[in-house]
């Protein structure tokens, strides 16, 4: 069994406790307008070109088996429909101008990579986080991987948007120490406007995890003009849960513009970026409603 993974980030410090390695799985059921990992959306691998780094050496043209690259008038031209995402050009690009998002890994491929930092996990109460995209779209793989990680005594976290089947949740549940669970909106229509899908399953799954006694940390992206009117309602909903250990309000940022351009998809990022004061206000609202650590 293999999974499509677009990045493995070591010394990840904001994806759960301590020093962690985060594995980013490709494919997401949501399409949030503010998505800062647009390379995660599609399930299939895809190539990105960072034009500003390209020196037009022509190595990619030389190694591409399908004529996806060309240098014309001293410009690098990428013909996306010809690309089969084989990754040969990435290997021969010495300037980091080409990156292939999405490579196949087996559990045995991943384990040695994830075990490298085991000393750090132990010294900092850290571990491994599965994220994405939505990692639980590939839940069978996740289950196998998490099982192996637990055998090595590693703390595990799953960062999920919650828009997955109950089967997926049941499958990984015994091997997950913490769920980092995104809640983007409480009102269904707002959620649809922001993400393109209903939040019915998301809220149900969250309730289900809570009933099962899972340790859950809620993450709320804060996006002015999109979900800033949802904070109170989300907090009220969290108040009805028993096992939520922490809530984090994550301020939306627009650093991801270059990634949209690089993978050749339309940039949907909102213009309005919240200030730290805006974020703090949201934190305060939540604090007034629930008695849980909010940051």
């Amino acid at each position: 069994m293999k999974a499509n993974i677009f990045e493995i980030k070591r010394f990840a410090v904001h994806d759960g406790d301590g020093v962690r390695t985060t594995v980013f799985f490709k494919g997401c059921p949501l399409s949030c307008v503010w998505c800062h990992n647009p390379e995660s959306l599609k399930k299939q691998s895809e190539l990105s070109i960072y034009q500003h780094k390209c020196v037009k050496c022509g190595n990619c043209v030389r190694v591409c088996p399908n004529g996806a690259h060309a240098i014309k008038d001293d410009k690098h031209v990428f013909i996306r429909e010809n690309c089969i995402a084989c990754g040969k050009c990435e290997e021969e690009c010495y300037f980091d101008a080409i990156k292939l998002y999405g490579k196949e890994y087996s559990v045995d491929d991943l384990l040695p990579i994830l075990l490298q930092d085991i000393d750090f996990y132990k010294d900092s109460n850290g571990g491994v986080t599965l994220s994405g995209g939505e990692c639980l779209l590939q839940y069978e793989f996740c289950t196998e991987l998490l099982k192996k990680l637990k055998e090595h005594g590693i703390n595990t976290a799953v960062d999920t948007c919650g828009c997955v089947s109950k089967t997926a949740i049941d499958s990984v549940l015994p091997y997950v120490d913490t769920f980092l669970y995104d809640v983007k909106a409480f009102d269904e229509d707002v959620h649809k406007r922001c993400t393109g899908v209903s939040n019915k399953a998301i809220l149900e799954n969250l309730k289900y995890l809570d009933d099962m006694g899972a340790k859950v940390e809620i993450r709320i992206p804060y996006v002015p003009a999109y979900n800033d009117n949802q904070i109170e309602k989300i907090a009220e909903f969290i108040k009805s849960l028993k096992n939520v250990t922490a809530i984090k309000v994550l301020a939306y940022h627009n650093y991801a513009s270059s990634k949209y351009e690089a993978i050749g998809v339309k940039n949907t990022l909102p213009q309005l970026v919240p200030t730290e004061e805006d974020r703090q206000r949201a934190v305060e609202i939540i604090r007034r409603i629930v008695d849980i650590k909010v940051s």
Binding site: R10, D17, C57, Y94, S124, G126
Partner: protein, 743 residues
């Protein structure tokens, strides 16, 4: 400034340098004739002349007596000052006078007349960027506890007692004790002179009382202890001409004074103020190598040193926003998390005066290599940048070997790669290395030849160190010296080690790895072709160079092959060098002192040909045990894994990782805890020293353009911290490149 009145701040800032003039951080000499009253003594230039005049009376006597007479002359005649705006006195003639007069005279006589060939060879190695060997009589730490327990007068009395007990002595030993007597009587004399002056200076009454006490007795109060440190430091480093490389284990050694004061009703606020005025002296001196002081570690019984005074120290330091004295933190297993989080939070905010050193590793190394006891190892001093030694030991070690030069020799039949004008011994032509192992074996031969040459040169002159720079002031604090009647630097015992440091380990590992991969494994080109490409500094082969630079199989990424080379090079050096005998007058051993390079990454880099790693001719070499600039592609954890694979117990000192971390990675509580996690793992895995820069390239670029906005931005270089604005622009580039590569 907090704790310090504005007028006082102004006065102390101008005490050592004129702040209206441009500041030169490399200036060794601090002296301000104009702030002194001429009725208190002779001016600085007359003093300097007077030393030579005075010396004529003693020309027939041993150097130690002549030096002591020199110090006596200066301390008797130099101008002094007390001021109500400062709680520390001022002494003029603090421009390392005895070093630049008598010591330099003897040094030149010996090098040029007694061992001229040795001198010529040493200079040649330096000119060619092969090895930088400086005569070292600079890394001293007195046994502070003895100074605190006995005071200047007690040290003198102790020496005289031992002298008496010994009965009839040889002329040489008689001179040794006599030189101590002359120096300490002179020190006590100037302390008395300053006390009298303070008595007659309005607002300096407290200083007068304290000086009066330490002229006769051991220090009693916290303030008197600080005063003693200050006076010892100024006289030893800035007049006697021997650097004092630690102002003591502040929280352990000064705790009894702190406790005494608190029990006698002194407020914590007053202690904080005294510390602030003490710190400000060193901030005002401000030269780039800094004045080290250390905190933490373990007490003799293994308990943590960290106490109230440790927290007061870091808090005052933090609030003052200063960058000198520079601070080492001995991180032991028992060091409390709360203290570490405070220190790491300061580092995170750019208070880069802190370097972390691993107590466990230091103990293991001292026990393994020098046979010290567990207790001695716990109480060892941290001195210099990241060196350490049993209290009272005097190691010398300004011997910087450029590890990539032997590879240049291998690739050029034994000659250097710049202009083929230097050779130690011949090597075969490139086509004769049939396998990588052949080439690597030849590399070690050339490396060992360079080690042999360095040992020969250093042993050749180190026999004369006590003749060049006799050290009565230091020796008197060390019981072993008093017992033997021998100078601290040449006491014919294991206490006098010699150290060799090896720069650019990352460059040589990366270069060897690339040679193996592209010449021997993939056979993409022959060794001759590769040599011809680097001889042309990659001209016409930029794409190939980029391929090399982009190759991720490099030191610092937790990759098996390059890391195994680093481990093997370390073990080969240590196996070949450690426990070889040094100069007979010193009577100690040689040791590998790790991979610290001071500024040689830059100076030797200028004289190093382009490398198979893709580095161009003349570019900077890697710093310390750190990966090459831009080559740590797998991040902080991978760099730590690589560096800690090398067994740092093979080295006595100086295995230091420069860790760059982006500010965004360590923000918030999560970030601080994660940073603490990194530090813990580094030391649990046997790491020695760790210096951390938390800054992004954008900030550095902005600081380069708008220096006025970043007056307090600090960067840790190789063993010290500097203000960003004091680094020359071409060296700033190296730091920016490093920050750009952070992930």
């Amino acid at each position: 400034m907090i704790y310090i009145k504005d007028a006082d701040y102004e006065y102390i800032s101008n005490k050592y340098h004129d702040t209206k003039k441009p500041f030169d951080p490399f200036m060794r000499y601090i002296r301000r004739d104009e702030i002194f009253d001429e009725n208190t003594g002779m001016n600085g230039d007359d003093i300097k002349q007077g030393i030579f005049e005075n010396d004529k009376k003693y020309e027939h006597l041993p150097h130690c007596i002549r030096k002591a007479r020199g110090l006596e002359f200066v301390l008797k005649n130099t101008r002094i000052s007390c001021d109500s705006r400062d709680i520390f006195p001022a002494i003029n003639s603090t421009d390392r006078l005895l070093r630049v007069t008598l010591s330099d005279m003897w040094r030149n006589e010996i090098l040029q007349n007694v061992i001229p060939e040795n001198h010529a060879e040493r200079i040649n190695l330096q000119r060619k960027g092969v090895a930088t060997i400086w005569l070292d009589y600079d890394h001293s730490v007195p046994i502070w506890d003895r100074l605190f327990d006995l005071g200047f007068s007690g040290i003198l009395a102790d020496s005289e007692n031992i002298r008496k007990q010994k009965g009839k002595l040889s002329e040489e030993k008689e001179a040794f004790y006599e030189s101590i007597k002359i120096e300490y009587e002179a020190i006590i004399g100037i302390v008395k002179r300053m006390s009298l002056l303070a008595k007659n200076t309005k607002g300096s009454e407290k200083l007068a009382v304290a000086l009066d006490n330490i002229s006769q007795n051991p220090p009693k109060t916290f303030y008197e202890a600080l005063l003693l440190i200050y006076i010892y430091f100024m006289i030893c480093e800035h007049i006697e001409g021997l650097q004092v490389r630690s102002l003591c284990n502040f929280d352990r050694q000064l705790y009894k004074f702190y406790k005494h004061d608190i029990e006698n009703g002194v407020s914590e606020e007053q202690i904080r103020e005294e510390i602030a005025y003490f710190f400000l002296q060193f901030t005002a001196i401000g030269n780039y190598w800094g004045q080290p002081v250390y905190l933490g570690g373990e007490n003799a019984d293994g308990s943590s040193v960290i106490n109230e005074l440790s927290y007061i120290f870091v808090d005052v330091y933090d609030k003052m926003g200063i960058f000198n004295p520079k601070v080492q933190i001995k991180v032991a297993e028992s060091t409390p998390e709360k203290f570490m989080l405070k220190v790491l939070d300061m580092i995170r905010r750019g208070r880069n005066s802190f370097v972390l050193v691993g107590d466990k590793l230091i103990r293991q190394s001292l026990i393994k290599n020098l046979g010290v006891t567990e207790e001695e190892a716990r109480l060892c001093d941290v001195k210099g940048c990241y060196e350490y030694a049993k209290q009272g030991d005097f190691g010398t070690g300004m011997n910087y070997i450029n590890l990539v030069k032997p590879l240049e020799f291998v690739l050029h039949g034994g000659y250097d790669g710049i202009d083929q004008s230097f050779i130690l011994q011949k090597s075969p032509a490139p086509y004769e290395y049939k396998t990588f192992d052949d080439l690597y074996a030849e590399y070690k031969k050339q490396l060992f030849a360079l080690i042999d040459k360095t040992v020969e040169i250093v042993n050749g002159y180190e026999d004369y160190l006590a003749e060049i720079n006799p050290l009565p002031m230091l020796s008197a604090t060390i019981p072993d010296c008093l017992e033997k009647g021998l100078d601290a630097i040449a006491r014919k015992s294991v206490s006098c080690s010699s150290f060799m440091m090896f720069g650019a380990i990352a460059d040589v590992v990366d270069s060897l790895t690339m040679l193996k991969k592209y010449v021997y494994d993939r056979k993409e080109l022959t060794l001759e072709e590769f040599v011809s490409i680097i001889d042309n500094n990659f001209e016409g082969h930029e794409l190939f160079r980029q391929k090399l630079l982009n190759d991720r199989e490099k030191y610092g990424n937790n990759k098996d092959f390059p890391d195994s080379l680093a481990v093997d090079i370390d073990e080969s050096i240590s196996g070949y060098l450690n426990h070889r005998k040094n100069a007979s007058n010193r009577g100690g051993y040689w040791f590998n002192a790790g991979y610290h390079v001071a500024r040689q990454y830059y100076e030797q880099g200028k004289k190093t040909a382009s490398l198979p790693s893709g580095r161009l001719k003349g570019e900077e070499l890697a710093k310390n045990s750190s990966p090459c600039v831009g080559q740590n592609r797998e991040g902080a954890t991978a760099a730590i894994l690589t560096v800690t694979k090398v067994d740092a117990t093979n080295c006595v000192g100086d295995v230091c990782l420069d860790l760059g971390v982006l500010p965004s990675a360590v923000k918030g509580d999560d970030g601080l805890q994660a940073l603490y996690g990194l530090v813990k793992t580094y030391f649990n895995r046997g790491g020695h020293a760790l210096q951390i820069n938390i800054v992004d390239a954008e900030t550095l670029r902005d600081a380069q353009k708008n220096p006025e906005k970043y007056a307090d931005l600090q960067i840790r270089v190789a063993g010290w911290n500097v203000l960003w604005n004091n680094i020359p622009p071409h060296e700033q580039e190296g730091f920016i490149k490093q920050a750009e590569a952070l992930i």
